[in-house]
């Protein structure tokens, strides 16, 4: 039986990554937030069937992706589904062609190593304090600065390459 506190402990840490994924596919912040809420609600309803193992994060990503795709379908917009569903392994030239600055950012963040990704999202997208980042990621404060530095530097390089 998964109680509320364990559920939160295990699943809430994924929300940033899942929000970003929804944002990439749906392109809208409000919709992405709704998607995250809907997904967590459903996860809560099915909490007894969720197995906590190595494939949990893959399972969550897949669930979110499917949820967003069906959102898009019911929206009936002429969104290029192929573009929306592009994996993070796309090449730079395709990224450069995309004029959407935000999606350029989001796609890149998804390619960062997990710790850098979380640190960057927490600090630069969510405005968390360094102490919270250190707590959640279980790293020291000097480590946190280094990791953030790496992520930000990589991000800048990405934007440098964007220039034509």
């Amino acid at each position: 039986m998964l109680d509320a506190s364990t559920f939160k402990q295990v699943l809430i840490p994924h929300h940033r990554r899942l929000y970003l994924l929804a944002l990439r596919i749906l392109g809208d912040r409000d919709e992405a937030q709704d998607a995250v809420q809907d997904l967590y609600m459903r996860l809560w309803e099915k909490r007894d069937t969720i197995e906590i193992n190595d494939s949990l994060s893959g399972f969550l990503s897949m669930s979110m992706r499917n949820h967003c795709v069906s959102q898009l379908r019911s929206r009936k917009q002429s969104v290029d589904l192929d573009q929306a569903l592009q994996t993070s392994g796309e090449d730079l030239s395709a990224a450069i062609e995309s004029r959407d600055r935000m999606s350029y950012l989001v796609k890149f963040i998804e390619t960062l190593p997990p710790t850098q990704r979380e640190a960057l999202m927490m600090r630069d997208l969510q405005g968390c304090e360094m102490s919270e980042i250190e707590d959640v990621l279980k790293i020291s404060s000097s480590n946190a600065r280094t990791i953030l530095s790496r992520a930000r530097t990589a991000l800048r390089k990405h934007f440098e390459n964007c220039k034509l």
Binding site: D3, A4, F7, K8, I12, H15, R16, Y19, L20, L23, R29, D30, Q33, V36, Q37, Y40, M41, R42, W44, E45, K46, R47, D48, T49, F59, M62, S63, N66, H67, S70, R101, M102, Y104, L105, V106, M121, D124, L125, Q126, G127, E129, A144, R145, T146, I147, L148, S149, R152, T153, L155, R156, F159, E160, C162, K163
Partner: protein, 159 residues
């Protein structure tokens, strides 16, 4: 203007070292938002900060998730069996076809074992499409559902 630029450049250096405070970061962000024309070398930084603004998370996203869970957990549950019903229903549908979309539960079920030697043998023996894993899961789900239903009946009658 030049003073501003060199000040921003200093802040940026600290930013990329991971050493800026939230206030300083806001300062950089405000500068780029208010200044459409920046020197060429600062253009990538401007794009970077603008994109971060555009992608910024909603303020309360984490807290509203936590509140939602707490609210749901506190709700009096009239029927503890509901989750189990969903589970049996999920198992029941999962038994048919690989990658069947479970529309009631809104996400794709994982692939159940692809046909292989022992399944074909099993199917041949039993004349059924179900794999051994599916049979096991269905049977156990059904028994557990029965056990829980009986349990509910007992707790009802002892009230």
């Amino acid at each position: 203007m030049n003073n501003d630029i060199s000040h921003i450049k200093q802040l940026l250096e600290a930013y990329y070292r991971g050493e800026t405070s939230p206030r300083q970061e806001r300062e950089i962000s405000a500068f780029f938002a208010d200044t459409p024309d920046v020197p060429a070398e600062l253009e990538p930084d401007r794009e970077l900060f603008l994109s971060l603004d555009e992608a910024a998370f909603p303020d309360d996203i984490e807290q509203s998730l936590i509140s939602m869970i707490d609210r749901e957990a506190a709700r009096p549950r009239l029927s503890p069996l509901r989750r189990w019903v969903k589970m049996v229903a999920a198992v029941a549908v999962v038994g048919f076809g690989i990658g069947t979309v479970v529309t009631a539960l809104h996400y794709e079920t994982p692939r159940i074992s692809a046909p292989h030697e022992s399944n074909q043998y099993y199917s041949h023996l039993t004349g059924s499409d179900l794999s051994p894993e599916q049979v096991e899961k269905q049977t156990l789900a059904a028994v557990q559902l029965l056990a829980r239903t009986l349990q509910m009946g007992e707790s009802e009658s002892t009230r």
